[in-house]
């Protein structure tokens, strides 16, 4: 950071965009804007969850059997992995706030690593489902309960759709993280200007929250 007086700093901070009066207003506007976007995301995933619940009420046996096809161990490990990644993301924001530049990069990279572990585990799960004939459409060959099979396939539509949309958000998040890591390596962030790291965190934590609901809905609720 250049040595500047407080007034010059406010007027000329390189990250301050001209349509904002100061960095405080800019930061507030970006986080608020992100929350508006997350509102649309909440309703987007909410709509899918609502459809899931209506079919769950219509076909409770099929939903039980469908959820019983899921591997709780994979789902549980991935839940923990994602929570760890949320923790490292929160720590990354804190490092930006306290100007711990190297730790900022380290925590962002850790977040990317845990996010990638989640996707790898998910990929292994997807492959298992494919082998078990639980892919929907012409590849659906699962027939443990022939009478329930069409409805279990409907459950699997929700499974693939919901986890797929979630995984897509993870992939987008990983891409954004790489961009933020690049900027952090270039030391673009500081306690005065860390809005992008904060907004990255909001997105990442939101995706974590989606999984917090998907895990019990798709893996656990069947048991009784």
């Amino acid at each position: 950071m250049s040595v500047a007086t407080t007034e010059e700093h406010h007027a000329h901070h390189p990250a301050l965009q001209h349509h904002f009066e100061d960095l405080g207003q800019q930061h507030e506007a970006s986080t608020l804007g992100m929350w508006f976007f997350l509102t649309t995301e909440i309703l987007f995933f909410g709509g899918v969850l609502l459809a899931y619940w209506i079919y769950r009420i219509m076909y409770p046996e099929a939903w039980s059997v469908g959820a019983a096809q899921q591997n709780t161990m994979f789902g549980g490990i991935n839940t923990i992995v994602l929570i760890i990644s949320s923790f490292t993301m929160a720590m990354a924001v804190r490092c930006a706030q306290t100007n711990a530049q190297r730790m900022l990069v380290a925590f962002l990279i850790l977040t990317l690593i845990f996010g990638s572990v989640f996707l790898v585990v998910k990929g292994v799960e997807y492959h298992k489902h494919y082998e078990e004939g639980l892919l929907i459409g012409q590849h659906f060959t699962w027939h443990e309960h022939p009478d329930l099979a069409p409805k279990v396939e409907l459950f699997m539509c929700f499974y693939w759709g919901m986890t797929g949309l979630h995984a897509l958000h993870m992939v987008i998040g990983a891409g954004l993280l790489i961009w933020i890591i690049w900027r952090a390596v270039r030391r673009e962030f500081s306690p005065e200007y860390y809005g992008p790291v904060e907004v990255m965190g909001l997105y990442w934590h939101f995706v974590d929250i989606v999984w917090i609901f998907l895990f019990p809905f798709l893996y656990l609720i069947h048991r009784h």
Binding site: Q26, I42, I54, P60, T98, I209, R223
Partner: protein, 106 residues
């Protein structure tokens, strides 16, 4: 010369302590284990509501602490609460239809 800047709240708001983040992380991990453990015992009609409550508590912890809403402005609070209000409208109105149809869907 530069105009006198209009003062806004400092962007550096609140730096959450590492201890709080660790406590939230441990609570989330405990919630995950709890929701898994509860699913292994038969509580009849209560399994689903309990799983939902645990998930909701975990979500609130993430929103308040990891997403810093607890230290955010009132405007942010309004937007966050409005998001869940609309989600509530979506669920309540749709269920009010599907669960009260003359022919049983369930």
């Amino acid at each position: 010369m530069a105009e006198e800047p209009i003062s806004h709240p400092d962007p550096q708001h609140h730096v959450t302590s590492v201890g709080v983040y660790i406590a939230v992380f441990l609570a989330l991990a405990a919630g995950t284990l709890l929701t898994w453990w509860v699913s292994t015992i038969d509580l009849h009609a209560w399994n689903t509501p309990i799983a939902l409550v645990i998930a909701a508590i975990k979500a609130v912890l993430v929103i308040l602490f990891f997403m810093h809403v607890i230290h955010s402005t009132r405007l942010t609070w309004i937007v966050v609460i409005a998001a869940f209000l609309w989600l509530g409208v979506l669920f309540v109105l749709t269920f009010a239809d599907y669960l009260t149809r003359a022919w049983k869907i369930y």
